[in-house]
């Protein structure tokens, strides 16, 4: 298990934030809601890549409140959808390509690149837009 690495990308004057993943590890790109725009994978390499909604603790785990069983089904699914650690995309074997997602996340954006060899890591550009609030 990798220790999470906080990545700070400045808010650009236009467009979305962008970060190039080129080594194994766990990268926390955003702490807060937003939209994952695309995952452009330019090199498959060896290993797996997972995109997660949530912010891990210092040990790389996603602690969250347990979901109580007596909630009704609608509430249960809503809570499951908003929990920290929800996997949005999982590439057990990374496939090259430009994967356009436009997927929303509630808690944060974390990328986990695990397995494989450090010299043969998957390489991917992650583009996302943090939530900037509602304008009237």
């Amino acid at each position: 298990m990798f220790k999470p690495e906080r990545i700070i990308v400045p808010q650009p004057p236009m467009g979305c934030k962008c970060f190039l993943i080129e080594k194994p590890g766990m990268f926390v790109l955003e702490e807060g809601p937003g939209t994952l725009i695309t995952d452009a994978c330019t090199h498959a390499g060896a290993g797996a890549l997972t995109i997660i909604d949530g912010v891990p603790n210092e040990q790389g785990f996603f602690p969250d409140e347990p979901i109580r069983e007596h909630y009704d089904e609608v509430m249960f699914h809503e809570l499951m959808g908003k929990r920290h650690g929800r996997e949005m995309v999982r590439f057990p074997v990374v496939v090259m390509g430009s994967w356009m997602l436009n997927a929303g996340f509630h808690n944060g954006l974390t990328i986990s690149v695990a397995g494989g060899h450090s010299d043969l890591s998957p390489i991917a550009t992650i583009v996302w837009m943090p939530f900037r609030g509602v304008r009237a």
């Binding site: 650009p12 004057p13 236009m14 962008c18 190039l20 090259m96 430009s98 356009m100 550009t125």
Partner: protein
């Protein structure tokens, strides 16, 4: 960060009514296509070339896109931003000639400045 004297500048116009710009680059080395903050829309590789490695980076050297061994295809980033006011560069290394790479990006309207 490369020596700035080794950077070749390309000047690319945009069409009236559109702020999107496009440029094909086939030379090895550093080529700067834009000299202010912009949105990188896509990187398209039309011809992989012989043993070519390509990287798109901001002028201060932050990599935005990298392919260690070029492969023909279209990599759409939608709006991956180069926040650096110095602009956007393509670095290409290879054996004797480069790949054929098309960059598409959008610069801000000059009225923003």
């Amino acid at each position: 960060m490369p020596d700035w004297r080794n950077i070749v500048d390309e000047y690319v116009p945009c069409a009236p009514g559109s702020l999107m710009r496009s440029c094909t680059i086939e030379r090895l080395g550093f080529t700067r296509v834009c000299r202010r903050a912009c949105e990188l829309y896509s990187v398209q590789i039309l011809s992989a070339g012989p043993w070519v490695r390509a990287r798109v980076l901001t002028f201060s050297g932050r990599p935005l896109w990298f392919q260690p061994s070029t492969f023909t295809g279209s990599f759409v980033l939608m709006a991956g931003t180069c926040e650096d006011e110095g602009g956007l560069m393509l670095e290409m290394d290879g054996k004797d000639r480069g790949a054929s790479i098309v960059l598409n990006w959008r610069e801000a309207d000059v009225r923003m400045y």
